[in-house]
Symmetry: C2
Subunit: 370 residues, 2 copies
C-alpha cells in the first residue's frame, strides 16, 4: 500500500487477538460479553466478534444501533441515557430486534411512553461513582420509581442494572483498577441482592476497558461491556490496561518539515486525524501521540518521539538529535493515538496492513441513507 496522506492503519492480527482474549476471559468467568462497538464503529470489525461467537453488542447512540442492526445484529444495548425524541427510530428497530435501552430518568421514560409502539427492554443505569449519568447506587427511591413506571407498561421489560465505572480511567496501575472494580461490583451486588427476589432474571452489566482488562473475578456480574480493548491506545497503556504490543491502530503521517535547531518535526497529522485528546506526562508536558517507525509487518515499539501539539492538520513532534538525523520530508511515520475511539471516529475508515479498506459508520452518510 502506498501511503501519501494521513491513513489509519489497523493491525488485524492484534485486533483479532484483543477480541479473542476478551472472549476467552468472559467464557472463563461465565459472564456474557456484550462488547461496546462505539470504538470501532465498523460492521466489518463487528463480524470479527461474531466469528468468535459474540451475538450481542453495545452502542452509544440509537443511530449506531441502526447501523449494526443493518448488519444483522439482533440484540443491541444503547448504553446512553434514553432520548425520548428518538421514539420513532426506537419503534422501528424494536419491531425486529431485541433493543435494550438505558433508563436514568422517570421523566424521560414517561415522555417516551405515549409514542412507544413496540416492546423494549430497560436497563436502569446506575452511577457507581463516576458521577456522569445514571441513578446513584444508593438512591433506591429513584430506582423504585423507575421500576414502577417500567412495570406499569406492557411494552417495557425490566432487564437489570447497568453501570460504567468511568472512574477507572484515572487509575495508573493494575491494583488501582482492581480496587475500582471491587468497589463497583460491590455496589452492583448489593443492588442485585435487594432487587433479585422480585426480579429473578435481573442482569448486572458492567463495562469499561480498564476493569474488564485487569480483573479476573466477575462474581455477581452477568455481563461485561468493554469497548476500547478492541484497539487499546496510549491512555489505556497509561492506565495499566494493556501493553504496547496490544495497541492495534496507528495513524500513518507523512513528514513535511524538519527543524533540527528546535528538535521538532512537522507531520501531516492534526486534530482532524487524531482528535485533540491528550495525556499529561510526568513533567507536566502534553502528549497527543507517540511515534512509531513503520515496518514491513506493521510498526516498531514506540520511539522517544512525542507529539507535543496539534493544530487542524499539523502535528509537532519533539525529537532527539539522534532521531532527527534519520528523518526527512517525504518519510512516513506512525503515531500511536492517545484515544483510539476518538481517532477512529474522526478518520472514518481503516486500512489493514495488507491495504484492505475497512469501512465505518459515517455520520452524515448514514443520516442520508436512513
Amino acid at each position: 500500500m502506498k501511503i501519501v496522506r494521513p491513513t489509519l492503519l489497523l493491525d488485524e492480527k492484534r485486533c483479532r487477538a484483543n477480541i479473542r482474549r476478551m472472549v476467552e476471559k468472559a467464557r472463563r468467568n461465565h459472564v456474557s460479553l456484550r462488547p461496546h462497538f462505539k470504538t470501532h464503529q465498523s460492521q466489518e470489525i463487528g463480524r470479527w466478534f461474531r466469528e468468535e461467537g459474540v451475538t450481542a453488542c453495545t452502542v452509544s447512540s440509537v443511530q449506531m444501533a441502526a447501523y449494526f442492526e443493518a448488519d444483522g445484529w439482533k440484540d443491541i444495548t444503547v448504553a446512553f441515557p434514553l432520548n425520548p425524541l428518538e421514539v420513532d427510530e426506537i419503534n422501528r428497530m424494536a419491531g425486529s430486534i431485541k433493543l435494550n435501552l438505558a433508563i436514568v430518568s422517570a421523566d424521560g421514560l414517561r415522555q417516551m411512553l405515549p409514542g412507544l409502539k413496540q416492546k423494549v427492554s430497560c436497563f436502569i443505569e446506575i452511577d457507581t461513582g463516576y458521577g456522569r449519568s445514571g441513578v446513584p447506587a444508593n438512591d433506591t427511591s429513584t430506582i423504585d420509581e423507575l421500576l414502577s413506571v417500567i412495570s406499569a407498561s406492557p411494552l417495557l421489560n425490566f432487564q437489570g442494572f447497568l453501570t460504567h465505572a468511568g472512574q477507572s480511567y484515572s487509575c495508573r496501575s493494575g491494583p488501582e483498577i482492581i480496587k475500582v472494580h471491587q468497589q463497583t461490583t460491590a455496589l452492583m451486588k448489593k443492588l442485585a441482592a435487594k432487587y433479585r427476589p422480585t426480579n429473578p432474571d435481573l442482569v448486572v452489566s458492567v463495562g469499561d476497558t480498564p476493569t474488564c482488562s485487569a480483573a479476573s473475578d466477575f462474581n455477581e456480574v452477568q455481563e461485561i461491556r468493554p469497548g476500547n480493548f478492541v484497539f487499546y491506545d496510549l491512555m489505556q497503556r497509561g492506565i495499566g490496561s494493556c501493553t504496547n504490543e496490544n495497541i492495534a491502530i496507528a495513524l500513518a503521517c507523512p513528514v513535511v518539515a524538519v527543524y533540527p535547531s528546535r528538535n521538532e518535526v512537522i507531520i501531516h497529522g492534526g486534530g482532524v486525524h487524531l482528535s485533540k485528546d491528550f495525556l499529561r506526562q510526568d513533567d507536566g508536558s502534553l502528549m497527543f501521540g507517540q511515534a512509531v517507525r513503520l515496518t514491513e509487518n506493521g510498526w516498531s515499539l514506540p520511539t522517544g518521539m512525542i507529539l507535543k501539539s496539534l493544530s487542524q492538520e499539523h502535528g509537532v513532534l519533539k525529537v532527539s538529535p539522534e532521531d532527527m538525523a534519520t528523518i526527512q520530508p517525504g518519510m512516513v511515520l506512525g503515531i500511536l493515538p492517545v484515544h483510539s475511539c476518538m481517532t477512529a471516529d474522526v478518520m472514518g475508515e481503516y486500512f489493514t496492513l495488507s491495504g484492505q479498506r475497512i469501512s465505518m459508520m459515517t455520520k452524515p452518510g448514514f443520516t442520508k441513507a436512513s
Copy 2:
C-alpha cells in the same frame, strides 16, 4: 425541522454577513481576500463567497483542494507544507487550475521535482513568530536556497511569502491582536523590501482570523487568508475577534438527564460532535461549549450554562438552580462551539435554520470518489 439528535445548525444570515464584512474590508484596504475554506469544508458555502465576488481560496490539504476544484475553483493555495508524496494529485490538479503550494524545505521540494509534470506556483512559508512551520523570517540563507531551487526549475513559479500568525490566538483583546498584526506585517514588509527588486510581482500573504478581524491597516500586504471568521466561535470571542452575535453555528443537543442535586444536566453532545477543544476560564475551570436557548429564528444570547466536560457522546452542563428549573429530558438546547473548525469537521454536515442540509467534504467518502 424536527431535531431528535445532535445536529449542527448554521445561521445562514449571520454566516453571509460574516463573509460580506470580510469581503468589504478587503476591498476597502485594497488587499485580495483568499479565504481559508478549512473551516467550513463545504462547496455550498464556498459558493456564498463566490456570490460576493471571491474567486480564489485557501485549503489545508491537497485532498481539500481537489474537493473545491471539483466545484469550479480555479485558483487554490494549499497553505500546508508541501508533501512530496502527493505529487500525482498535484500534477492532476495543476494541469487544469492555478495551484499554489507552500514551500518550507528545499529537501521536500527537491524530492517532488523528478515527479512534477505541471507548472505550480510556490509561496515560501515564513514563520513570523508562531514557531510551528515555515522558514524563520530572519533566515534569509534558507530563503535564498529555496529561491534558487525554485528558479532552477521551469515548472516552479515563485509567487511570494505566506505566513500564518497563529500566535494571535493567545491574544485576549483587540489591542493585543493589533500588536501581533503589526509585528507580523513588519517582518513580512522587511522581506518584501529585500526580495521585491528581483521579484517585482511578489505577493505578501497573511492570514488568521484574529488579525484579519481586528486590523484595519494592511499596508504592504497584498493578500489575506482568514478562515474561521465564516462562523467564528467562543475561542474567537475570547480572543476579541468577534461578538456573540457573529457566531453562526450552534450544535443542537437533546437533554437526556437532569441532576438538580449537583446542578448538572446531561446532553447528547460529546467529543464526536463538538471535538475536545476547550477554553480555560478565569477560575481555572474548563469550558467545552456554552449553552444557548433555541428560538424560532435561531438561538438566544449565551446563557450561564457551561459545558464542563465531554465524553464520546455525553456532555455535562453546569447549570444554576434557576436554569435547572426550566430544563427537562426531551428538550433541545444549543451549544456554541469552542472551535468551530473542529466541530464542523467532526459533524460533517450542517442544517440551516430552515432545515436545508448543507453538505461538507467527507474524508472517507471523498477518498472513495477520487
